[in-house]
Every structure is written in C-alpha cells, then in structure tokens.
C-alpha cells in the first residue's frame, strides 16, 4: 500500500498538494490495476444499491428474519408523519430513518451494501444519503465522499480489523460511524485534516463497543445501533468542522482499538455468550428462536 497510516496518507496529500481523495484513487488504481472510469462506475453501483436499500426499508413494515424486530423504521416514520418529531431537524430525522431502514432490510434478508460490514451497513449510507437529499448534493460529490471514507476504513482494515468476531462491534459500527463522519465532513466542504479528524473523533468515542448479539443474530442490538452510530457521526462531523481535534492522533486510536479488541473476552466478540445475549431475556429469546429452528 502506498499509505499504511493516517499520518502517511496526510503526508502524501500535503507534499503533492492534493486531496485525500486523489491519493486514495491513485493508490487504488495502482494496486488493483483499474482505470479511473471503471472505479467510479463500480462505486456508483454501490451508491445506487445504498439508495435502493433505504427506499426498500422505508416502503414497508419489515419483520426481521429471526423475529426479534418488527417495523422499527415504520414506527419512526409514522411518528414523523404525524408531526411528533418536529423538535428534531429534518436532517436528523432523515438520517435516523435511513439507518434503521437499511439495517432492517439487512435483518430481513434484503439487499444491502456491507459498508464496512453487513451488521453496520446502515450507518454510512444514512449519513451520506441523508445529507445529499437534504442539501441536494451532486452524485459526483457523493461518489467522492464514499471513496474517501472507504480509503480511511481501509487503513483500519489493514492495520487492525473490521470484524466483530475479532475485535467487537467497535470494529464494525465504530468504523462504520467513523467512515460516515469522514464522508460527512468531505460533503460539507471540510479540509483534509478535518476529514481525518471526523473519522478519528467518531471512532475514538465508540472504542470498547462490544459485540453481544441476542441469539447470535444481526438484530439486537445491531439494528438500532445503526441509527445511534449514524447520528453519532453527525456529532463527530460537527466537532471536526469546528476545528475540534482528537487529543490522541488517529493512528494511535486505531492501535487502541486493536488492543481493546485483543483484551475483550471471547464472550463479547460475536459468540453470543456474554453481555446482552447472556441476559435472562436474551437467553429466553435465544431459546425460543433457536429451539424452534432446531425442531424443523
């Protein structure tokens, strides 16, 4: 890789007097031997799939595959339609709905974009699409912010992990929220340093997030967590755009994430044996669902 760390990426962009986006595209073209047009076309397909998932999730009342969730997006949407959520900004409402919608589509075997993973698939699309619809942003800008976000996520993938089984949910929803914040800062015209800070602030605040899904399914707490992590990204973007900086530099935050992941016991890393999964209710639900499945 041309850049292995946030420091290197930033350095490269500084010396060449260009954007993070340009360095990320140049690196991808070199490493994957792909033409620029082709890359953009592929990203566009993924962006469109994000929109489709959100639309699908908003269009109907969805029951999850395991049956733990029933129409969460629908409930929020109804409430907004009835005018009960006017205390929130329209952007915030959009983002919450879009995140829940995608996560519910995922939990019901619908088509989503695993960005960075299926469990965390609602976060970045919600922020990206929410902002774009609210401010009528051009497709080109959306594609570019997606590329930058993925370029930053890649550093975590290569230097640490993006797997809940390896490092808990901080690696899935934590990184998802960080990527969403980076995309938001870029879409709102932030400078390179601010984009990286958005990513860092967001990830840092979700360090230690465990993976303890009830019955081992990507439903509880995953679906609602997507909405929380998406709005969390908005806060990170707001701070970064105001010049607030993480005291701990980005690369050290990633190292901390790795270390915390190693220190987390296996029961909190996707094995559904600790935390929420091990509560009385969690166990009862697991018994019901898995018992039923085993009788088939």
């Amino acid at each position: 890789m041309q850049f292995k760390s946030f420091a290197e990426l930033n350095q490269l962009a500084e010396t060449r007097n260009t954007s993070l986006l340009d360095i990320i595209i140049a690196t991808e073209r070199k490493e994957q031997d792909i033409a620029r047009d082709e890359l953009i076309a592929q990203v566009k397909v993924h962006l469109e799939a994000m929109y489709q998932a959100i639309e699908e999730g908003k269009s109907k009342r969805i029951k999850s595959q395991g049956g733990l969730l029933d129409g969460e997006t629908w409930k929020v949407k109804e409430s907004i339609t009835k005018g009960q959520q006017q205390w929130q900004s329209s952007l915030y409402n959009r983002v919450v709905i879009a995140a829940l919608a995608t996560a519910e589509v995922n939990a019901s075997m619908g088509k989503i974009v695993a960005c960075p993973t299926a469990g965390a698939s609602g976060i970045l699309p919600a922020v990206l699409v929410g902002l774009s619809e609210e401010f009528d942003l051009q497709e080109q800008c959306q594609i570019e912010s997606l590329i930058t976000a993925a370029g930053l996520g890649k550093i975590v993938a290569e230097e640490a992990t993006l797997s809940g089984a390896a490092a808990g949910c901080q690696a899935e929803c934590g990184v998802g929220s960080a990527m969403a914040a980076a995309a938001a800062v870029q879409l709102l015209g932030g400078a390179k340093e601010e984009i990286i800070q958005g990513f860092t602030l967001s990830l840092k605040n979700l360090l230690g997030l465990v993976c303890d899904p009830v019955a081992g399914l990507v439903e509880v707490p995953c679906v609602k967590r997507n909405a929380f992590a998406a709005t969390h990204a908005l806060t990170a973007a707001q701070l970064a755009l105001s010049g607030v900086k993480s005291v701990i530099p980005p690369d050290e935050v990633v190292t901390a994430m790795s270390q915390i992941g190693d220190l987390l016991p296996p029961s909190l890393k996707e094995t559904a044996t600790g935390g929420l999964a091990a509560t009385a209710t969690g166990k009862n639900l697991a018994e019901k669902i898995l018992g039923k499945a085993n009788q088939r």
Partner: protein, 230 residues
C-alpha cells in the same frame, strides 16, 4: 494483493451476515460447480454455529440459493425454497456434530443425474465439506474422502486418477505446454484402492482442449474444472 476500497464499501449482498449468509451462498455455489448442475437432491448437514443460527441468518436459503447458482447479491435467495421447488431440486437439512472443524461448517451430500448421449442416465453422489471463514470467504476442505483446499480465488482443476508413477508429471507437462501457470498443487491418495485426488490451482481458466487432453491420459477417472467465485 492489498485490500480494495470496494471491499470496504462492499460487497453488495443479501443480508444479514457475511459469514452466515453471503459465505453460505458462496459455499453452495462452489458445491454446485464441483458436482455439476442441475442437482437432483442435496442433504445439508450443518455443524456448529451454522446449525445453531441457521434460520435467523437464512443460512438454509443461502446454501440452497448457492446450489441453484445464485450470487450473494441475488434477491431471489430469500425465496430459495420456492425456487428450488420450481427447479425440481429436492433438499433436506440435518445437523451434525463434527470434531476439530471451523464452527461454520457444512457437509453437502449432492445427488446428480446425468443424461448420456445414448439416452441412458447415470446417478452420481458426491459428498463435499466446506467452511465459511468470515467476510464471505469460503473454503472447500473435503471432497468425498479426499482432503482438498479450494477457496474460489483461482481456477481449480480437481482430478481423480490412478495412483501411478509419472501421472502428475504428464498432467503438469500438458498444462505447461499451453502456458498455463500452476499456482499450487495438492495431492491426496487412498493407498488401499490406489486412487489419488489432485487439486491444481491455476492463474487462468483452462481451455476445453487442454481439459480433453488430460482426460485422455491413462488412469484419469474424473476431471472437474472449478470456476472462481467472481
């Protein structure tokens, strides 16, 4: 090769889980390619986490969809049961308790019927074992009693042949003559019946004429080309 940013903002897939859904589809696809389609009947024996959370993750539909040739982003996966019925594919799900294997492991007993040119048909059953290793990555670890390792990253040739001296040399010479580069070769044999199984991974797809030439070598029992998962 380094990670592509497309893998960070993807893949586009049917949810809910890359290991229990997308990986299961990919396992089914590999198995369908190895056994050859159409498949008459499959018995799925699910182990570990696959057995436990099968229904909630749609692992059953995903495996079945894969056998039918669906890709991980195919929305028909959710309705795989009815698609299987329409295609005349019979299936059964069982659970097993295996020792020392990855928690997301499944054994497929696949039954196919091939019609020959003379109107007769042959019945075939092959048993294939594989695991979903996370992020949609899979590995086929066993075909019948032979240990193999097929991940779908490269084109693979699976050859069952007599365990006679020189046969591997003849096969690799044929490949070399066509400029087909061998990435790796795994050989496993059953000494008692003097039959061996060889998996050759290649950088390119193998042309049909080369396949035919290998088939004509003495002692070749079976030859299958296994495509990549792309």
């Amino acid at each position: 090769m380094s990670t592509s940013i497309m893998d960070i903002m993807g893949p586009v897939m049917v949810g809910p889980s890359s290991s229990h859904t997308a990986g299961a589809v990919n396992l089914g696809r590999m198995v369908g390619a190895i056994s050859g389609r159409p498949v008459e009947k499959v018995v799925f024996k699910l182990h570990g986490s696959f057995a436990k959370t099968c229904q909630g993750h749609g692992t059953d539909r995903a495996l079945l969809g894969g056998i039918l040739g669906f890709k991980p982003d195919d929305i028909r996966i959710k309705e795989a049961f009815s698609h299987a019925q329409r295609a005349g594919l019979k299936y059964e799900f069982q659970t097993v308790d295996l020792k020392g294997v990855h928690p997301n492991t499944v054994i497929f007993a696949v039954h196919t019927i091939r019609k020959k040119a003379n109107g007769q048909s042959t019945n075939n059953t092959v048993t294939i074992q594989g695991s979903s290793r996370g992020g949609g990555e899979v590995e086929i670890t066993k075909i019948n009693d032979y240990q193999v390792s097929i991940t779908g990253h490269l084109f693979s040739l699976w050859i069952v042949h007599l365990d006679r001296p020189g046969i591997l040399g003849e096969i690799t010479t044929l490949l070399g003559r066509e400029n087909l580069n061998i990435a790796s070769l795994i050989n496993d044999r059953d000494k008692e019946i003097k039959i061996a199984s060889t998996i050759i991974k290649l950088d390119q797809k193998i042309p049909t004429k080369v396949k035919e030439k290998i088939k004509k070598l003495s002692g070749i029992k079976k030859l299958h080309c296994i495509p990549t998962l792309k």
